[in-house]
Assembly symmetry: C2
Homo-oligomer: 157 residues x 2
């Protein structure tokens, strides 16, 4: 049972944004991702993709908050109490954020992206190009999810 294993990661860069508070949740928000100079070669060819997954470390989550197991999605009391693995809350045992962003441009070690819901100075763990294996056909979501997102543009819904 590999449960005891500790995993140590080092950020590959960090987020730079002027957006504060709830502004980061606006999907039109444009941010920068600054990559460590010595890793710049790893960006080679990235502009061939229009979209990326950004994996980042939610460093504002406390060790106490990491013990949370159930939440009301987006803090709404009228949403059912839901397991953290069935929600995208930042309160989770390993507070890793995962967001699909649009790649706007790359200049040296700085990527400009649209739609990253991360605060200024958030450590970035990884970038992965988005491809068609990341698309589920006939994906199903619960009713609470549809209610929670009913006012928003529904993409492929």
């Amino acid at each position: 049972m590999p449960f005891q294993e500790k995993i140590v990661l080092n950020p590959i860069g960090y987020v730079k944004t002027k957006a504060e508070g709830d502004e980061v949740k606006d999907e039109s928000t444009v941010s920068q991702i600054v990559i460590r100079d010595e890793l710049v070669e790893g960006l080679s060819g990235i502009t061939g993709f229009s979209h990326l997954f950004v994996l980042f470390y939610l460093n504002q989550v406390t060790s106490e908050q990491r013990k949370t197991l159930k939440v009301h999605p987006r803090g709404r009391q009228n949403m059912p109490l839901t397991g953290v693995f069935a929600a995208r809350t930042m309160l989770r045992p390993n507070p890793i954020g995962l967001t699909l962003v649009e790649l706007v441009k790359v200049e040296g070690n700085v990527l400009t992206v649209r739609g990253l819901d991360a605060y200024d100075a958030t450590p970035v763990l990884d970038l992965k190009p988005y491809d068609f294996w990341d698309m589920a056909e006939n994906a199903k979501v619960p009713d609470w999810w549809k209610k929670l997102n009913s006012g928003k543009p529904q993409k492929l819904l």
Copy 2:
């Protein structure tokens, strides 16, 4: 600059599969994810989603391999040398795997999933429900990606 910060994570569970070697890359492969008993409550409501993202730790990647910055996608010499952040190679500074899987069933602390390309005993870091914010409209991928995947079912391609 938050570059020096070390991030420590603990697995939430591990992968259980009979698939060996390249068998794990077969998208019809069925595996189990065994979650730590004390985190089971975090699965509440997860069956409302048909698909999940599994984040896992590629613990077979050595510290030397983590220094890799460019690869030929899927090891094919006829594919262009590409930055690791523009590829889904497991050779990357923070070897985190990200795979979209179909959720087959949940029994207690064991999830059965289809399409997880992870070896037996791989530590699992997080589970996230797949929703429509994870779908990019009009996503673009480079030509090498299309060539590399030309023999496969193309989903939404």
